[in-house]
């Protein structure tokens, strides 16, 4: 109670409290003087300020009061040297802003819980077997039914697949991304509909009527948020579906931009394939992931035992939902986090260096305060308050930067980050920014503060901020800081160098299409499935389409293909070569198998190596033909001429397809991405394959083809107004888009490295400029004694060089440790790439030399007369 009253009084009526303290002590001194006739009193009076400080120290609220005082004082000090303040705040705001942005990304993608209750208990179930050979491969309906029957670990076992729905009957025919899901899909995720309902048990039965749930976004944008939508029928890829519900826009599953979910009807399969599905389940209470994994693997073993022709080495991987969604982005994000923390450390070290340099200027002020009774603890607290103030101001600026950064990032979505909708600057990120600010404030403030706290007033006042022991130890500290800064910068520069090298190498990879990429335009076309029910109907449509497009002015070749470089692989399958029986247990790897029209190779400029291209004679009634890639010829025909040999598809179910004669060998094309070295492929003519609904129209022009898009759309529409067109893109843009992830991380880490270089340059410049200023007198003497200017410049530059070399040595060692962690992000470059490790130090030393050259020149300009008169 008393404490509170005094707390209030000491804080609010500070002036009165101080006056009373003055009076009390003055009376004491006067009385003492009378008693001892002034002998003792003089001695005591000398310490009156110190005495007051000691009394204040015990008073309630003193701490708060001094903090307020320190903040006010610190604010005045910061305002008095605006250049220092602005530079320091900019450097730190950059560091804190970048760190907060990256933290928000890492938190949003890797750590933020998914918006499903107990999301950690939900897992996805995959299929892994030879010859499908995907780590997290997909399931068939038969696999699912076996899993559901043998399941003991999950309280629900569900299945879903992605789908593209052609929505017709409304306005423009539209292609909408969606998913087909079993009845318990939504209840497994424990999500409710915003409007209407989700699916009911039994709605995945083979004979169930079609029902659909829409996304709020699509419902608003395409249906005008029509509240009467429930119960209406939509035509989805030819299937009439009754709308039963709308999901809130916060629901993104299996990913962003999914707009429609329809009921997956579990029609009893007549064969094991096809395999487009993924499993979803919620673990029973108490069941661990490991137990669930053992459970699904037991199912997998039984499936493999019962179907030895289809499956080899089968397992059913269980992956926690969050891991399944974020995929392999983790190493890149952790690399960003590491890089940005290094940048932050550099910024903090930089500001520490600036503070140290400023401490010299303030030495007299501090000495004066010590002699007026400031204890060293009090002084350290004061200086720390100042650096905290600086850090908090920077933190606020950094948060603004982070806010802008995250906005830009979400608008742009570089590198196809998963869960981008979950990345935002929230209270967690703000708390993080605050913590980072405080931590950096304390860290960079600590060294200079203790430095000054150690100062003794006598020596400082005598030294006048020059030479002496404190000056020497401060210089040592400064040198260490700059070396550390250079070492950290080198680690960043080396990492960025490796990423730049791999990105450049990736850019040099030949996609396999020799045509000028800006002259090739592709678009995905989906003819209305209600009109084209089989190959009899669709092949003539495609033929007419190509004839029509081919006669458009500017078009040289028109073709269709279901796969396109650089990364639009539609399907892959295994094969059997006639006369090359497989050894027991041997399985051919799966290869890409595009289905193309005759002009496809010419349109993309894929060279013919042997034999011939397809022609219009390779039709349904002609003998089946096939063209293989050069890489496949090398791998499976070991130097013999493959033309004239025969092979057939041997997918898990395709036992009775006919052998096809190899009529040609063409150049290698990358269908699985530029960074995938495997270019084995076999092509089939489109007129000889089964019905397929979607394909890509590829057009080659004699000039840039982007301008053709409108004309081509019109041509397609005129041929059939119900055809859905999507993904119109030139080969050039497709190549760019396929490396957007690597480009993003290269740009990001490269940007960090550039900032680090600039900060390191400022750091070394600061130290050298400070050192030159310190030695003005000495330099003046040397010049008066006849030293040449070039010698003086050399002297200063050599000092900078020594710092740079020491920093580089530490940095190279650090970089060797760090770049190993980058290995999974590199393409065709080793983490210890000699060129990068040579170039990094060269760049750093060059920057250091440049940064010390300016102060060196200033040293050489010193006028000896003025320098000697100096003080």
């Amino acid at each position: 109670m008393h404490k509170l009253v005094y707390f209030w009084r000491n804080l609010v009526r500070r002036r009165q409290v101080e006056r009373e303290l003055d009076q009390e002590l003055a009376a004491y001194v006067a009385l003492l003087a009378e008693e001892t006739s002034g002998r003792e009193a003089r001695l005591e009076a000398g310490g009156i300020q110190q005495l007051k400080e000691q009394v204040r120290d015990v008073k309630a609220g003193f701490f708060m009061q001094t903090i307020l005082q320190d903040v006010r004082y610190g604010w005045r000090m910061l305002r008095r040297s605006p250049t220092f303040t602005v530079v320091a705040i900019l450097a730190l705001a950059l560091g804190i802003g970048a760190t907060t942005t990256i933290f928000s990304i890492v938190y949003g993608v890797l750590l933020r819980p998914l918006p499903y209750p107990a999301d950690g208990r939900i897992a996805m179930v995959f299929n892994h077997f030879a010859p499908q050979n995907a780590e997290h491969g997909t399931l068939s309906i038969a696999d699912y039914l076996d899993w559901k029957k043998g399941n003991h670990a999950f309280e629900s076992a569900e299945l879903f697949r992605q789908a593209l729905f052609d929505v017709t009957g409304a306005k423009e025919p539209e292609q909408v991304r969606g998913a087909m899901v079993t009845a318990g899909f939504f209840s497994t995720l424990r999500v409710q509909a915003l409007l209407g309902r989700t699916f009911l048990p039994g709605e995945d039965a083979a004979n169930a009527p079609g029902v659909a749930v829409l996304s709020e976004t699509w419902w608003r944008n395409s249906l005008g948020a029509d509240r009467n939508i429930l119960g209406r029928k939509l035509n989805l890829s030819g299937v009439p579906c009754t709308v039963v519900g709308v999901m809130a826009s916060s629901f993104h599953f299996p990913g962003p931009n999914y707009e429609i979910w329809t009921n997956l009807r579990l029609i009893p399969p007549t064969r094991r394939g096809p395999f487009p599905y993924r499993g979803l389940g919620r673990l029973k209470p108490g069941v661990t992931l490991g137990q669930a994994q053992a459970d699904t693997n037991a199912v997998a073993q039984r499936i493999e035992r019962e179907n030895p022709v289809t499956y080899h080495h089968m397992t059913m991987p269980v992956v926690p939902l969050r891991d399944a969604i974020i995929g392999n982005i983790r190493p890149a994000l952790l690399a960003f986090l590491g890089a940005v923390l290094v940048l932050l450390a550099i910024a903090a070290v930089n500001v520490a260096g600036l503070l140290l340099a400023r401490a010299t200027v303030r030495e007299r002020e501090i000495a004066l305060r010590v002699s007026l009774g400031a204890g060293s603890g009090r002084l350290i607290r004061q200086l720390l308050t100042e650096s905290l103030l600086l850090a908090l101001l920077s933190g606020a600026a950094g948060c603004l930067l982070a806010y802008a950064g995250i906005h830009a990032l979400r608008a742009w979505n570089p590198g196809n980050l998963p869960r981008i909708e979950d990345i935002r600057l929230d209270s967690g990120a703000l708390v993080f920014a605050l913590l980072v600010s405080v931590a950096t404030g304390v860290l960079f403030g600590l060294a200079p503060a203790f430095q000054s706290g150690r100062a003794t007033p006598a020596s400082s006042l005598r030294e006048g901020g020059r030479g002496g022991t404190v000056g020497a130890s401060r210089r040592r500290l400064q040198a260490v800081l700059v070396m550390g800064e250079l070492a950290l910068a080198l680690m960043l520069v080396t990492s960025a160098g490796l990423l730049v090298r791999s990105f450049l190498l990736l850019g040099q990879v030949n996609s396999g299409a020799q045509a000028p990429p800006e002259n090739v335009l592709s678009m995905k076309i989906s003819p209305a499935s209600s009109k084209y029910r089989d190959s009899e109907q669709i092949i003539p449509f495609y033929r007419r389409l190509m004839e029509r497009v081919r006669s458009t002015p500017g078009v040289t070749y028109a073709a269709i293909s279901d796969s396109l470089p650089p990364d639009r692989q539609y399907d892959y399958d295994t094969f059997v070569i006639q006369g090359q029986p497989l050894a027991a247990g041997e399985i051919n790897p799966a290869v890409t198998c595009p289905i193309v029209s005759p002009d496809y190779f010419r349109a993309l400029g894929i060279p013919l190596i042997k034999g011939r291209f397809f022609t219009n004679q390779d039709s349904g009634d002609a003998p089946p033909t096939v063209i293989i890639s050069d890489s496949m010829a090398r791998h499976y025909f070991s130097g013999e001429n493959p033309v004239g040999r025969r092979l057939k598809a041997s997918g898990p179910d395709l036992h009775d397809t006919p052998f096809m004669e190899i009529v040609g060998v063409v150049g290698d094309v990358r269908y699985a991405g530029l960074d995938d070295n495997n270019a084995d492929a076999y092509y089939q003519p489109y007129a000889q394959t089964l019905y397929y609904q979607r394909t890509n129209l590829v057009v080659r022009s004699n000039g840039p083809a982007a301008g053709l898009a409108t004309t081509l759309r019109r041509e397609v529409r005129e041929l059939d107004a119900d055809t859905v067109i999507s993904d119109v893109i030139t080969l050039q843009d497709a190549l760019g888009a396929s490396v957007i992830g690597p480009r993003f991380r290269t740009l990001l880490v490269g940007g960090f490295a550039l900032c680090a270089l600039v900060l390191a340059a400022i750091g070394i410049y600061g130290v050298m400029a400070y050192s030159v200023a310190q030695r003005t007198q000495e330099i003046g003497i040397r010049m008066a004694l006849g030293a040449r200017r070039s010698n003086l410049i050399g002297d200063v530059v050599a000092q900078g060089l020594r710092l740079a070399l020491a920093g580089t040595a530490v940095g190279v060692a650090g970089a060797l440790l760090v770049t190993r962690l980058l290995a999974s992000l590199l393409f065709a470059v080793k983490p210890t790439d000699a060129l990068t490790f040579a170039a990094g130090p060269v760049i750093l030393i060059a920057v250091a030399l440049l940064a010390s050259f300016l102060p060196a020149c200033r040293a050489a300009m010193v006028d000896p007369v003025i320098a000697l008169r100096h003080e």
Binding site: M1, H2, K3, Y6, E20, Q23, E24, L25, A27, Y28, A30, L31, L32, E34, E35, E44, G47, Q50, L51, Q54, V55, D57, V58, K59, A60
Partner: protein, 113 residues
């Protein structure tokens, strides 16, 4: 030749509070008065320096044991006087008992063979 100064002892932790309370138990006094009274009642064993005295006075005032009042000093100066409050008397009582307990225990310990 002057008389040898009485041997002074550093104040034990916590002793100062007790001495101040004891010094003020008869009448209100100002800082110097308290310091002289302590010297007197301890026969010069303890000399309280202002650097210890004033922080202690302010601390004890804020704890509610001492109440301040402004009055005229012997030489007609305005001085801050301290007197014991009820809480201060209770504190004096408690600390005295505590001290006696300790000193008896110490004496017993030192007498033991």
């Amino acid at each position: 030749m002057s008389e040898p100064a009485p041997k002074t002892t550093n104040l034990l932790q916590g002793t100062l509070d007790l001495l101040i309370l004891r010094a003020l138990s008869l009448e209100a006094m100002h800082g110097l008065g308290i310091s002289r009274r302590i010297e007197q009642i301890t026969q010069g064993t303890f000399q309280v320096k202002p650097g210890s005295l004033f922080p202690a006075l302010h601390r004890m005032e804020e704890a509610g044991w001492l109440a301040p009042s402004w009055g005229e000093s012997e030489n007609n100066r305005k001085a801050k006087y301290y007197r014991l409050t009820a809480a201060g008397r209770r504190q004096l009582q408690a600390e005295t008992e505590e001290w006696q307990r300790i000193s008896m225990a110490m004496a017993a310990a030192l007498d033991a063979t």
